[in-house]
Symmetry: C2
Subunit: 139 residues, 2 copies
């Protein structure tokens, strides 16, 4: 259904609840969700959402993922303080990926770094680009 927006003009669109009913969640009922800091455009992390997590995030304005390892909803920052406030939710052209434009409180990564993407391929090495902002033991 979301493909109907391909030819829509800016400002036009579709009923969100109808699109939500038609989203192509994968076999595990999940969609990948990219978290991006809304003002700097930095990519912070990628995690997964089921429909319940997506709806809760839109209702509360605080990002809730689905933890594949724990098999439960994962309210980001609930225990660590690494809360993500949702500024804008976007979907791609075929609706199989979410882009969360967020205001990240403190570091996004469990290592204490701002972003999870601190590993950089440089020739034959995979090099760390930045130090932790906070002690990961404190998270």
């Amino acid at each position: 259904m979301i493909e109907q927006n391909e030819t829509a003009r800016p400002g036009d669109g579709l009923d969100w609840s109808a699109v939500l009913d038609s989203l192509p969640f994968n076999a595990d009922g999940l969609l990948p969700a990219i978290a991006q800091q809304h003002d700097s455009n930095e990519v912070l992390m990628l995690a997964w959402m089921n429909r319940e997590a997506l709806e809760e995030t839109l209702q509360t304005g605080r990002v809730c993922y689905y933890s594949r390892s724990r098999g439960t909803l994962w309210r980001k920052g609930e225990s660590s303080g690494q809360v993500q406030y949702l500024r804008e939710l976007r979907l791609d052209c075929d609706g199989d990926t979410l882009l969360l434009r967020v205001d990240q409180q403190g570091p996004a990564c469990h290592t204490g770094r701002r972003t999870c993407f601190y590993n950089v391929v440089q020739g034959d090495r995979l090099v760390v680009s930045e130090p932790p902002q906070v002690d990961p033991q404190a998270l």
Copy 2:
């Protein structure tokens, strides 16, 4: 193995070929790959890579994905001209997501828009944020 970098200092790192051998490709042999414009930090799209696509991308400097719908390597822009030149390849803390910092030639999206993420949730609507830059028929 990539988790060994969690406590490494900036500039330190691991042997890339050893990390590559240990990456947690999913049951289909794939990892999600986020493409981000290297200078503006705009998120352009999300696609998937198998090991062969990842290695080709690093060797050639032109981004090659794996097309899940076609079941083949997908050299982005090969027929459409929407080439992505790789500026930097990053991995997240647990190595299950790739971040491609690229120089996107023209629009990334098959609709002719710069980014695939042009659908924005606004209240009870899913609204188009921007028009195509080029006629999608021309791609």
